[in-house]
Amino acid sequence: MTAIPLGVPRRLVEFTIDGEEARVPEGSTVLDACRAAGKDIPTLCHGDTLTPKNACRVCMVEVEGSRTLVPACSRKAEPGMTVRTDTERARHSRKLVLELLASSVDLSTTPQVAAWLKEYEAKPDRFGPEAARLNEEPRIDNDLYVRDYDKCILCYKCVDACGDQWQNTFAISVAGRGFDARIAVEHDAPLTDSACVYCGNCIEVCPTGALSFKSEFDMRAAGTWDESQQTQTTTVCAYCGVGCNLTLHVQDNEIVKVTSPHDNPVTHGNLCIKGRFGYQHVQNRG
């Protein structure tokens, strides 16, 4: 007899989104509910397998009775809530947050953001030519990956992925505070002097390209990076017996980077240095 594991049945929470009835299992976030209802809410710091830090504040919605707007990505749906996703107030706040972000960091490699900037009519330039920006040089101190904090939106995903949520290495954290806050390793050292184990899990979760494969970084610099020409093939890592799933990104018959499917029950997107970076041998055709 095959036992089919059934989860504990969850109660449904009933509330309204933009005037329509919504029912979601207890524990769902407002964002889950909105997405289920087909509402498009921008998110940047929210990640599929990490506890949302709710730091970017682009997913704000209006909840009746709340003095401020509410981050959809982390607020749990409550019975009887009245949520409005597309009011002038929510749109204003999203627009401003997008403008503030785009005026201070380089979002050119952040997927989707260009469309949101357009949709919300964000004009990051209006803060003037003197507007403070990060303006940092990319840190290239090892052969595996590059840290380009000029693109960092401080979403804390890499911190959480390196720390207790994924990797448990705790090699990176946020240092400094306010506008000067930066992702850093201990003593702001080069990566090679830090606790980093090069699992690349931080690259896996980085939503902006601030952390990227050296291969991708170099190709972008050379103008040869072309996602439309790439294929993705998910396979099994051959190094050890764990059996992690690898997704090989291939352009012109060369592996250009390796990611890992987040819905894989074994690894949830985690890899180790070999699986993530050790693909050169595949390409030794000599």
């Binding site: 704000m60 204003h92 706040s93 401003l96 803060f127 505070r177 306010g178």
Partner: protein, 605 residues
Amino acid sequence: MDLHFGDSKPTDDERAAVDALLGPPESSWEGADRSDADLRWARGGREARDRRDLLLPGLHAINDRIGWISEGALDYLCRRLTVPPAEAYGVATFYAMFSVKPRPATVLHVCTDLACAAAGAQELSAGVEAGLGPGVHVERSPCLGLCERAPAALAIKAGDPVRTAVCAPATVRDAVLAATSPDSAPEEPPAVMAVPQAGSPDLVLLRRVGVVDPSSLDDYRAHGGYTALRRAFELGPAGVIREVTDSGLVGRGGAAFPTGRKWQATASQPDHPHYVVCNADESEPGTFKDRVLMEGDPYALVEAMTVAAYATGAHRGYLYLRGEYPRALRRLEHAIAQARARGLLGDDVLGQGYAFDIEIRRGAGAYICGEETALFNSIEGYRGEPRSKPPFPVEKGLFGKPTVENNVETLVNVLPILTMGAPAYAAIGTATSTGPKLFCVSGSVDRPGIYELPFGATLGELLELAGVRERLRAVLLGGAAGGFVRPDETDIPLTFEGTRAAGTTLGSGVVLAFDDTVPLPRLLLRIAEFFRDESCGQCVPCRVGTVRQEEALHRIVERTGAAAADDIALLREVGRAMRDASICGLGQTAWNAVESAIDRLGAYE
């Protein structure tokens, strides 16, 4: 956890500073020399990790001894506490009083905030910088909580022990002297000097300041000390909460939440242990009332925390004291030790079989740590970043456990509630703002200081008492997070409902008066700079918004009318998003004061 420590070693001094706090290390796993046994035996990881909350005291220990925190020292501390160095580095760089770069052993903090700016802080810091050699690091500081004696300076000379000298009102000569030899700096005036009403029989909260000897427990008892705690034991926890609820007491820190309800909510949580946290991180520019209470009547706070703990079922309390208050720290350390020695803290408080003790935690220069959840993170050894709510502290607070958090003034109110009874207490003030209220008055007045008035007195009456000067231009109510009102609005009643009706806020009770010699645009710029500096940086609207606002204010500092209109519109848009979308009160209120100056004072017209 992969722990990785670099090659840098602590100096003997650094090691001694850490060991003085934590005791000597037991094995090479936590930083001792390697012995044979260490190769086969490891112990301490989990235990040490459980004391992560000693990270902040550890950083203080190093900074106090050396003046800054080197790589070797930080790594050693991390090894002792099993904390990843990257995280500890993130914590060390969060606080303004720490430095991870070498600097001289003496740091002179010169306040450049609102009251001090109005009293000539610019000239003071310029003069001090010119007068001091390279042996002293001069730091321009946000409000030091000495506004009644502006301009103010605080010298901290690292060593064993660390030496401090407070200098206010400061002249260039005095400040230089305090920095070069803190030991021979003149004594600070007693706390009572900040209480112009001292001796008045009407005082309730300030009654003992200047009357009791702050170092003597007996004197405190002779002046009515510990009658409230005795009454609490008679009433039982539920009875205490009933009294506090009936008294109508609401939090004095600015949020005005009913204290009884908070206590009830904590007391009834099934999860244990419960904690009591006293928020003594008074950093709102213009506020100094908690300092005066703690310096002048320290046992009152110890007693009030004990009452709060008893009522809510807590056996451990944390007193989070701002790092810039050396005298309050000394007095409270002494008071807690005395109370412990005399059975008023410890396993058997007052012989009632009730256990309670208090640990002091020193802040390290971060306004944001006054936000209750940021304060929990700070105590726990993390960056002082606010947590998002819900869950609320009554359910998941310090160490994830039910926690009641009150500020000093709120707690001290509990004593008269218990001694005079809820009805008599509630008869003070107005129907919805009950009890006495402390106000910190500074700026252009003849008698700056702390005033105690029943709720309902008007702003004008308070200013009258403090001797307001001619040509008043503006009053900042509630501190940097509050709002400005005009000189013709002095009939605003000082109650929560009255200020709300007038479209402003009572906030933490700050009343900063400015006459027309104070350049308003510069003042607003200082407020904007303050928030930019103090933002924790976690969320975008606040992290970037405070910068954009400061930039806009810089652009219009010399402009008015049409020339400023575009930037004012920009300020409004940014301000609105900050108010709506920031995680915590800092970002949500950062624009209040400037907005009120534009709308009520016509600052750029």
